[in-house]
Amino acid sequence: MNQPACILLVDDNRMDVELALDAFREAHLSNRIEVAGGGRQALDYLFGAGAYADRSAHPLPDLILLDLKMPGIDGFEVLRQAKTAQLIRRIPVIILTSSHEEGDRAMSYDIGANSYLVKPVSFEGFLAVIRKIEDYWLTLNIAPPLSLGNTGEESHHE
């Protein structure tokens, strides 16, 4: 953990992004937070396409916070592509959405989401969520290796 973890926040709602970033700041987290304002940008970032071609400038994230409801390429599509790509599939994806819907939950886990959280309405709630994510996913949880030298590929299962 020489380098602070990188978090990719995918959300088309600018205010939600701002609240999230505010919450991260409030929590005093030093993590690098990359924001993708839609499905398209999220995929570009993950696959190093377009503006995100430079991997050194835009390194693969250690955690993805993914909104579902987005215009164009929605969260499910991003999740689907992420979970079917080498290396990228290893990155834990936490669904952060307003939806309580059972269907959304089922679909998310089916495609490979690692966690499912509902956005709290209050700022305090939001802040608590961010702190717990930090505690669990970035501190407690052992991150997967994100280099191709490792041959854990073959042992993965659908």
């Binding site: 205010m15 309580h100 309405v121 700022f123």
Partner: protein, 842 residues
């Protein structure tokens, strides 16, 4: 032959007798009339001759009348005058007798001239008016002859004798006239018979003989045999020849032609010649007669032989018996009966051949035939002696008579009728049988008649029900039909003709015509059904569309059943045809309507589904998308309050608090709405839900708020177990308790009671409070979304809680209701299906 027949006929002779009577009477009348007229010619024929005396003439008249009457009597001619015949005869005899007495006594009895006076010098008369003595003798014998008659053989002979005396006496007088001898020898004692008196006596004497043609000389003359012939030939000669020869001799003598001796020679020679001629003539006649007789005999023998042959050949038994029962003759068949030859039978009686019983029987039947005087027929069983066989014979016994009517015996003829009898027996049996059969037939006919009668009655009833049936068929548009498999004959009732639009005069359509009455599809369909019915003998029912000859179409239902014979072979199909066009049309209409309706329902359902989906996605989107700005408002307001609290004045902080409060409330609303829209979506599985854990969790959840409100929750145990969804039931209870908390009365300590009991196979979960209550008018409204009865300021709430309860209950196929008294409290009851196994709260 006629002459012969007349000769032979007694009537001829009787006629002669009557003729002689008439002639005698006529002579008498002529003489009397001569006396009356005093005519010499009439009295004596010649003035020199002796006149017939009046008495003599009267005697002749009387004798002639008597003879005539007797001749009529002999011919059975009835006459009242017959009674005077004996008087006439006696008068004639008496006349002769009295006149003779006058001669013998020499006295005049006064009878000679009581009629007429005669001159005293009358020639050759002894006394005036007195007849000659020969005449008196003739009258006496003639009267006697007439009196005696000839009824018997003896009287006949006496008559013949008396007639002969008369004739000879008269002839003697006649010959005296002929030979003119009286004058010389005074024959007649001085008195002479008149010439016509002689003739009259001869005629009357002959007439008297002729009265009895069956007897004496007349009978002899009448016969056809040789004797008769000889008599007829010789009699005239025997009388005339001597008279002639005597006259010739006397004439020769008197005229001196020859000497007396030579006269004798001549007489002898003449006699020899005449007699020889007579003999030769008679011999020839006799020879001829004999030859005739021999021929006749031969013919008779031949005839007899034929008769014998006939008798022999006749299969019948033929026999003749005399009156004493002795056999006279029999044929060969009869010989077989007695087992003896005819020669041995003749002269013997039945008693010599059969047992006495049978002989008695034969004898009695013979006597019966004789007594009856006609043939007697009887049947009897005879046993033939020759071979022992028995036969039934029909015997006819006829009495035989001779020509005089005397019974000679009995002719018997017996015919074997065994075969005929048997045939008759058979015929009788056959007749009896046919009578019996006829009787039976008659009875059968009667039975048949009564059956026919019944049948007629039944037919009447049948006709009645038939017409009712036809009427019913017409009204119901049902016809019945029959198809005979063997003949292929189709029978239709009247209604079928109407249904098919076929002229009844054409009769039922045959199989070839049938397809034209249907659409091709219907015919194929129907044909398949008929085939199946025929092959498998199963009843079928099938609808078909009929195309009438006029092109109009009808729908029919054909129903059919098979008829079987004893071997379970289908013999006929019977069934009905029903016109179901109206129904079919109605059905089609219904189907069309149904299809339309279904289409509309589908469309509506699709619309509803779409709307539902839209609504869902709408409510989802709304609640989701509403939440983002709300979060922004809430989040940033909070950040503002935290970080910039000091830079705001009191008024700014108050407004910021309002923003936070409103946005929090907005968040709750959105959550509730989402909750509502999620409730029951995707369906639920109904399982037994033990209520105790839920209620326990509920108590824990609400304990803080209840405590704060000074209220309490009471559970009425035991709790029945409903069928439902645990989450939904938990939601319902949570919302109801929450409701009770919200709408409590501030002045009363809140008491919420939860119970669950079985009611009518259901579980009723009841949540009762002692809150403000709900007016009855709102009991329905409160279960609708966002229906609030009070302001947010009075009673906080989203207005969704009871809507969620309602929706959850409906999702579990239950019912929800409320009973409430405003100002006293409410009881919400949720009725769910009961679980089969109930577990009380542990």
């Amino acid at each position: 032959m006629t002459m012969l027949a007349n000769w032979e006929s007694p009537s001829f002779w009787k006629a002669l007798a009557r003729g002689a009577g008439l002639a005698g009477a006529a002579i008498g009348l002529i003489a009397l009339s001569g006396w009356l007229l005093d005519s010499a010619i009439l009295k004596s024929l010649h003035p020199d001759w002796v006149a017939m005396k009046a008495n003599t003439a009267l005697g002749f008249f009387l004798a002639g009348a008597a003879l005539w009457l007797k001749g009529r009597e002999a011919e059975q001619i009835a006459s009242p005058w017959l009674r005077v015949v004996p008087v006439l005869s006696a008068t004639v005899g008496l006349l002769g007798l009295l006149t003779l007495l006058e001669f013998i006594l020499g006295r005049d009895l006064g009878i000679d001239q009581w009629l007429f006076q005669e001159a005293p010098d009358a020639i050759k008369t002894l006394a005036p008016g007195r007849m000659a003595p020969a005449s008196a003798l003739c009258f006496l014998s003639l009267g006697l002859a007439l009196m005696v008659g000839g009824k018997t053989a003896r009287s006949s002979r006496a008559t013949a004798l008396l007639a002969a005396i008369t004739a000879f006496t008269a002839l003697a007088s006649g010959l005296a006239y002929l030979y003119d001898v009286e004058n010389r020898y005074g024959l007649g004692y001085g008195a002479q018979m008149a010439f016509h008196t002689v003739l009259a006596f001869l005629v009357l004497a002959a007439g008297v003989v002729c009265l009895q043609p069956q007897r004496g000389v007349v009978a002899l003359l009448r016969t056809q045999d040789a004797g008769g012939k000889i008599a007829r030939h010789l009699l005239p000669t025997a009388i005339l020849l001597p008279v002639l020869i005597g006259w010739l001799k006397l004439s020769g003598d008197r005229n001196g032609l020859f000497e007396a001796d030579f006269g004798v020679v001549l007489v002898v020679l003449t006699y020899i010649l005449a007699l020889n001629l007579l003999i030769a003539w008679s011999a020839r006649i006799l020879s001829q007669a004999d030859a005739e007789r021999v021929r006749a005999h031969a013919a008779i023998q031949e005839r007899e032989a034929r008769l014998r042959l006939l008798l022999r050949t006749i299969p019948d038994l033929v026999w003749l018996k005399d009156t004493q029962g002795a056999y006279l003759a029999c044929n060969s068949t009869f010989e077989r009966f007695f087992g003896a030859k005819e020669a041995d039978i003749i002269g013997k009686t039945d008693y010599d051949f059969v047992d006495d019983g049978l002989a008695d029987y034969f004898r009695s039947s013979d006597l019966a035939a004789i007594a009856a005087n006609r043939p007697e027929v009887n049947e009897e069983w005879l046993t033939f002696a020759d071979d022992g066989h028995s036969a039934l014979v029909e015997s006819t016994k006829s009495p035989m008579f001779d020509s005089t009517g005397k019974v000679l015996g009995v002719l018997g003829i017996a015919r074997d009728i065994t075969a005929r009898h048997q045939a008759e027996e058979e015929i009788r049996a056959a007749q009896a049988e046919s009578t019996r059969l006829l009787k039976e037939a008659d009875q059968s006919r009667l039975a048949l008649l009564s059956v026919l009668e019944d049948q007629r009655a039944m037919q009447d009833a049948l006709r009645l029900s038939e017409s009712a049936l036809l009427e019913a068929q017409r009204v119901a548009k049902i016809g019945n039909w029959k198809w005979d498999v063997a003949t292929g004959k189709h029978t239709w009732s009247a209604e079928i003709f109407r249904i098919y639009g076929r002229n009844p005069a054409l009769g039922a359509a045959d199989l070839d015509e049938m397809p034209h009455y249907f659409t091709p599809e219907s015919w194929a369909h129907l044909n398949a059904a008929v085939e199946k019915g025929l092959r498998q003998g199963i009843a079928y029912e099938c609808d078909a569309e009929v195309v009438r000859p006029d092109g109009s179409r009808r729908w029919i239902t054909v129903r059919s059943e098979a008829r079987y014979d004893a071997s379970r072979t289908v013999t006929a199909l019977v069934g009905t045809v029903q016109d179901i066009t109206a129904r079919k049309l109605a059905e089609e209409e219904v189907q069309k309507l149904n299809a339309e309706l279904e289409q509309r329902v589908r469309a509506r359902t699709a619309e509803l589904e779409a709307a539902n989906k839209e609504l869902e996605s709408f409510s989802y989107s709304v609640s989701h998308d509403l939440r983002a700005p709300l979060r922004a408002i809430s989040g940033f307001a909070q950040i503002l309050a935290r970080r910039h609290h000091d830079s705001l004045n009191e008024e700014g902080r108050h407004y910021l608090d309002n923003v936070v409060t409103a946005s929090e409330r907005m968040g709750v609303l959105i959550d509730e709405l989402l909750h509502y829209s999620r409730t029951g979506r995707g369906g639920v599985r109904l399982l037994a839900v033990p209520l105790a854990p839920l209620v326990g969790h509920l108590a824990a959840t609400f304990s803080e708020r209840l405590g704060a409100a000074g209220g309490r929750l009471e559970i009425v145990e035991p709790l029945a177990t409903p069928l439902g969804d645990a989450t939904l039931i938990g939601q319902i209870l949570t919302n109801l308790v929450d409701n009770a908390l919200i709408y409590r009365r501030p002045d009363v300590a809140l008491l919420v009671t939860i119970s669950a009991q079985r009611e009518d196979g259901k579980v009723a979960i009841k949540v009762t409070d002692n809150g403000i209550g709900i007016a009855a008018a709102y009991h329905e409204k409160i279960f609708q979304v966002f229906q609030r009865l009070h302001s947010e300021d009075e009673y906080p709430g989203t207005g969704i809680g009871l809507a969620i309860v309602y929706k959850a209950v409906r999702t579990m196929e239950g019912e929800v209701g409320v009973e409430s008294t405003p100002g006293a409290g409410s009881t919400f009851s949720v009725r769910l299906a009961a679980a089969s196994e109930e577990r009380s709260k542990s």
